[in-house]
């Protein structure tokens, strides 16, 4: 039942130095400590080691120290504190005058006077405990863990450990200057694992696109199917670890299936949607997309390739945001303060990601020789990044809504376009036609994703600037 011994074992103070000038001065005039503090068999700390002369009496005068204990029936074998019981007293220790327990500690006292303050000795021995304590009970608990009992407390002229702890708590010198706060938690060593994984979707997608370019016919279909599956798997792996992953063990924080479904739909639309609309405009589509660039329903590979490649900058941005936010958390004084400092960080991270995505789009467009479709891809990328950031920080509701709304808008536009072909329903397709005529087919996903991303950005600046969103992960299970 003494399992608490592991928490706080008895031992000597770490150093023998005094904690202030008074303590130091007092230390000089102090004899050897008696009750505890140094393990038997080990030499005393150098500062304490002072020859016990005839004059430098030990005011503690702990009786019961010498001589055998007696078995008092119904009582304790420990000898009581009566000073008159000098029968077995060590001749080296003459009777000492009883000292008053509550001398004012702040009074600059001569050395001899200071030595008559046993509680101060105890405080010096447990000074770390005393300085740290926020509550007398904390000192009491710590003292007990060091083996101080009520009978020990009685030697300090106290009724019990609690009142001794209260005196110690009251006497600890406290400076009202703020205690130094520990610096921000040391940055975790960067793990290469997630960085490599974040590159995986892009690499797989590039391989697939290359495969599509190099093959045709049935083989191309196989490559396309395998490639899509591989990319989906790669994305899952990339989101399963690192800064884009949801914290482990939290049921409610898992990516809801809705979010996943809408994300796939949005990506599929980015790949095929514009081509389909274009084909529909020409009266098609007459068949499934062949994958050839110049065909009637050509898939837009450049934006999708750029988006999958953008997993890496997204992961880096999320990591950057999390680390910096944690650092700000450690340094900010209040919640408002924190919100004010995180907002620019969030917007900056977001802008950084958009820049990276733009560069990737330009690169992919140039390499693949396709139009880069900046508007669609940028808005979609922004939407996906914000949705993921929110999900990672535990807000799953809003991303599902926003992604769902964008996906539904795109689906409605497609449906309207096709329904408009039916006789008498031409008016239904008018808004879609108008949009396509003025800005091209890409305007539909750009509008849908852009509006959703804007709303989500507004939501994000309100939720992710809260301190509770950056609370450290749960305790281990």
């Amino acid at each position: 039942m003494s399992g608490l011994g592991e928490l706080d074992r008895p031992g000597r103070p770490g150093g023998a130095g005094a904690w202030d000038a008074q303590s130091e001065e007092w230390l000089g005039g102090r004899g050897e400590s008696e009750t505890e503090g140094e393990a038997p068999g080990e030499p005393g700390t150098p500062t304490l080691a002072r020859p016990l002369g005839g004059e430098e009496l030990d005011d503690l005068g702990v009786p019961g120290e010498q001589g055998p204990a007696r078995d008092v029936p119904g009582g304790v074998g420990v000898r009581d504190l009566s000073e008159g019981d000098s029968g077995e007293r060590n001749p080296k220790q003459p009777l000492t005058p009883r000292t008053t327990p509550d001398q004012t500690p702040r009074k600059p006292a001569p050395t001899r006077r200071g030595a008559a303050d046993p509680v101060k000795a105890l405080m010096h021995r447990h000074r770390e405990l005393c300085e740290r304590a926020v509550d007398p009970l904390e000192i009491a608990a710590g003292l007990e863990a060091h083996g101080v009992t009520d009978r020990t407390a009685a030697r300090f002229r106290h009724r019990d450990v609690f009142s001794l702890a209260e005196e110690m708590y009251a006497r600890v010198p406290r400076d009202d200057a703020a205690t130094p706060h520990p610096d921000a938690a040391a940055a975790q060593p960067p793990r290469a694992g997630w960085a490599v994984l974040a590159l995986l979707p892009g690499v797989l997608c590039a391989a697939t696109v290359t495969g599509l370019r190099l093959t045709d016919g049935r083989l191309r279909l196989t490559v396309a199917v395998v490639g899509v599956l591989a990319v989906a798997l790669g994305v899952r792996l990339a989101l399963g670890r690192g800064p884009l992953s949801t914290p482990p063990g939290t049921h409610a924080w898992r990516t809801p299936p809705g979010t996943r479904l809408w994300t796939y739909w949005l990506l599929a639309y980015a790949l095929l949607g514009d081509g389909l609309l274009r084909a529909a405009d020409d009266g098609g589509p007459d068949g499934l997309p062949t994958g050839a660039t110049g065909g009637p329903w050509s898939p837009a590979t450049a934006p999708v390739l750029a988006l999958t490649l953008a997993c890496a900058p997204a992961a880096w941005c999320a990591h950057h945001f999390a680390v910096r936010a944690r650092r700000k958390l450690a340094t900010s004084r209040g919640l408002e303060d924190f919100a004010d400092s995180v907002q620019p960080l969030l917007l900056g991270t977001f802008a950084l990601f958009l820049c990276a995505l733009t560069a990737l789009l330009a690169l992919c467009g140039a390499v693949l020789g396709e139009p880069a479709a900046y508007a669609q891809a940028l808005t979609l990328g922004a939407l996906l990044l914000l949705a993921r950031l929110l999900t990672v920080h535990g807000f799953t509701h809003a991303p599902t809504l926003a992604l769902g709304a964008a996906a539904a808008t795109e689906a409605t536009a497609l449906c309207l376009d096709f329904i408009g072909r039916l006789p008498g329903c031409g008016f239904l397709a008018t808004p879609v036609e108008t949009l396509m005529d003025s800005w091209g087919p890409g305007s539909i996903p750009a509008l849908a994703c852009g509006v959703a991303a804007l709303i989500l950005l507004f939501h994000t600046t309100r939720t992710l600037t809260r301190a509770s969103a950056h609370a450290p992960a749960d305790e281990p299970r």
């Binding site: 039942m1 003494s2 608490l4 011994g5 592991e6 706080d8 074992r9 008895p10 393990a39 038997p40 068999g41 702990v62 120290e65 010498q66 001589g67 055998p68 204990a69 007696r70 078995d71 119904g74 009582g75 304790v76 074998g77 420990v78 740290r132 926020v134 509550d135 007398p136 009970l137 904390e138 608990a141 710590g142 007990e144 083996g147 009992t149 009520d150 009978r151 609690f162 209260e166 009202d176 703020a178 205690t179 706060h181 063990g249 049921h251 409610a252 450690a330 900010s332 209040g334 919640l335 303060d337 924190f338 809260r466 301190a467 509770s468 950056h470 609370a471 450290p472 749960d474 299970r477």
Partner: protein, 583 residues
């Protein structure tokens, strides 16, 4: 009269790796005439996966809930519920930051007027906030989300910055606020449980919390919601454990959480019908935290006495002049001091031998054991009887199960005097075992030693080898005194520290509580209206007066008046089907 007891545990019984599971198991098995419902909070996933102990038939149901994972029920509070939560949580935060008005702030602000009244007021405010949150969780659900929300953190921040807040709380920064909020969420998880309905804790006659703190929280709520009396047993003080465990946390966190735990402890002690500490050390802490002296009954832990019966009964067959130390080897046991004392003993009694029986625990223990061995070899050279015999060291280190000490009882039996040299000790189990064996003991005055030994052995100050040595020598030289002390120790141990004593004490306490606080149930007639005078006053007298009240027309619901009477009535006298029991 069979009593239906709701046994509340936290990280304990019935889990295989639980704390105090042995005691709970003996209690449940020993009181077969009563019925036990076990409500267990598990502490970790590992604990939950390790499974349960085998449960006796008197356990009619077991309900468990994890403390290690928050079950987010997906409920999002509406505007009104959010406001209600905000009010309760702000009150809670304000109480935590206010300090207790007497201890902490006197040093800074000087003595406050009427500290007793102020602390009673603070206790009431804490209770109101706690029960307000519990009622919210019961009515609306979704407390886990709310406790983690920004609203909670903001409430904490406001309370910390408010005038009159604790000095340490005023320094709280954002990370500390988050830590406190997370800890409070964890500590208040029992509030979100569905245990307080009439078919669960509302239907038991008595809640027995096997520990303070979180384990007793469901009992507190059952008392609040259904008027079930609460019995709290503590073998170690939760508050003290909290203080020791949280020593590394920042000051603001320690201040706020310490305030929370001490308020919770005070509320538990205030509401408990009876409190049973396991020793006087625990009792002192409880009194310090506000427990009423009249409600405290110390019940010593019971230990298996039968395996020491043989050794205790038979005549002393110990090797002459042998000192035995038994225990787990760790620095807190201060074997160094014992070895030095033994060196002194050898000067007086050259034939004395010392046997140290026990295994080291952990790396630290191993290192300490090595240190002790080295010291023993240094202090006592091997010696032989004559020039032709092989030498041997008078100090031997053994383990239970070795050839020298096959069982624990044998180890004690081999000793003329049993020595305990600890500097820190809780409840000294080894000492009680030595007492069961009828051995004379010399122990240091730490922990509950004096309370346990009570004059049937010698007690010396800790860290005093010379006193230890002289006490041992005086016993070694005086066989009569040894025998007298040993017999007295065995008698005392059999009186106070047996399992039977423990179980009988709890049996009596159960009956006492139930007799003082009968559950008032409303008896309903066929139409569902309350039936006045259906339960006569004699019905509350302990013992059966009129036989089982199982009339065909009388339906009974738990107390609570017409509002609850509209719900599904339950029979008070027939046990509920044990749906959750999975033995």
């Amino acid at each position: 009269m069979p009593v239906r007891i709701g046994l509340l545990t936290e990280g304990g019984y019935p889990y295989v790796s639980g704390d105090a599971r042995l005691w709970c198991d003996r209690l449940v098995r020993g009181l077969g005439q009563h019925e036990f419902d076990i409500y267990a909070l598990s502490r970790s996933e590992r604990q939950e996966s390790e499974g349960w102990l085998e449960l006796p038939p008197q356990v009619s149901r077991v309900r468990t809930a994890p403390l290690w994972s928050a079950e987010d029920d997906g409920v999002v509070h509406g505007r009104r519920a959010r406001r209600r939560f905000g009010e309760c949580y702000e009150e809670l935060a304000a109480v935590l930051c206010a300090g207790d008005g007497q201890a902490s702030d006197t040093a800074v602000t000087g003595p406050t007027e009427l500290p007793a009244a102020a602390s009673a007021d603070v206790a009431d405010r804490f209770a109101n906030a706690l029960y307000g949150l519990a009622e919210l969780a019961r009515d609306e659900g979704g407390l886990v989300t709310a406790l983690r929300s920004e609203r909670a953190v903001r409430a904490l921040e406001r309370a910390c910055r408010a005038p009159g807040a604790l000095r340490t709380a005023r320094e709280a920064r954002v990370p500390e606020l988050l830590t406190v909020a997370a800890h409070l969420e964890r500590a208040l998880r029992p509030l979100s449980l569905d245990w307080y309905e009439d078919d669960a804790l509302g239907s038991v006659d008595l809640c027995h919390a096997t520990a303070g703190g979180t384990a007793a929280l469901p009992g507190l709520l059952a008392r609040h919601f259904a008027g079930v009396p609460l019995l709290v047993t503590e073998y170690g003080v939760q508050l003290r454990t909290h203080y020791l465990a949280s020593a590394d946390a920042p000051p603001a966190v320690r201040a706020l959480l310490g305030a929370f735990h001490s308020r919770l402890a005070a509320e538990i002690y205030r509401r408990a019908a009876l409190i049973t500490p396991g020793n006087s050390h625990t009792r002192r802490w409880q009194e310090r935290c506000g427990a009423d002296r009249t409600k405290i009954r110390t019940v010593y832990p019971g230990m298996e006495a039968s395996r020491f019966a043989e050794v205790g009964e038979e005549a002393d067959r110990a090797d002459a002049d042998t000192l035995v130390w038994v225990g787990r080897i760790e620095p807190a046991k201060d074997l160094i001091s014992l070895l030095h004392a033994f060196a002194e003993i050898r000067k007086e009694e050259p034939k004395a031998r010392l046997r140290i029986v026990g295994a080291a625990s952990g790396a630290e223990g191993e290192a300490y054991l090595g240190h002790c061995r080295a010291l023993a070899a240094q202090l006592f050279p091997d010696e032989a009887e004559g020039v032709h015999a092989v030498g041997d060291n008078p100090v031997s280190f053994e383990e239970i199960g070795g050839p020298e000490a096959p069982t624990l009882a044998e180890a004690y039996a081999a000793g003329t005097v049993i020595v305990l040299s600890s500097v820190v000790e809780g409840f000294p189990i080894g000492l009680v075992e030595a007492m069961f064996c009828g051995r004379a003991t010399v122990s240091t005055d730490v922990g509950a030693v004096v309370e346990v030994i009570g004059g049937t052995g010698l007690v010396v100050p800790p860290r005093n080898p010379r006193a230890l040595a002289e006490a041992c020598v005086s016993l070694l030289r005086d066989p009569e005194r040894r025998e007298r002390l040993g017999a007295a120790a065995r008698a005392r141990a059999l009186e106070l520290f047996t399992i039977e004593q423990n179980i009988t004490a709890f049996h009596g306490i159960y009956l006492e509580i139930v007799s003082h606080s009968p559950i008032h149930r409303v008896v309903l007639d066929d139409a569902g209206d309350p039936l006045p005078f259906a339960a006569p006053a004699e019905g509350h007298v302990p013992g059966r007066w009129t036989g089982p009240r199982t009339g065909p027309t009388a339906r009974v619901v738990a107390r609570g008046g017409p509002r609850w009477a509209a719900g599904a009535p339950v029979r008070a006298t027939t046990p509920l089907p044990a749906t959750e029991a999975a033995r």
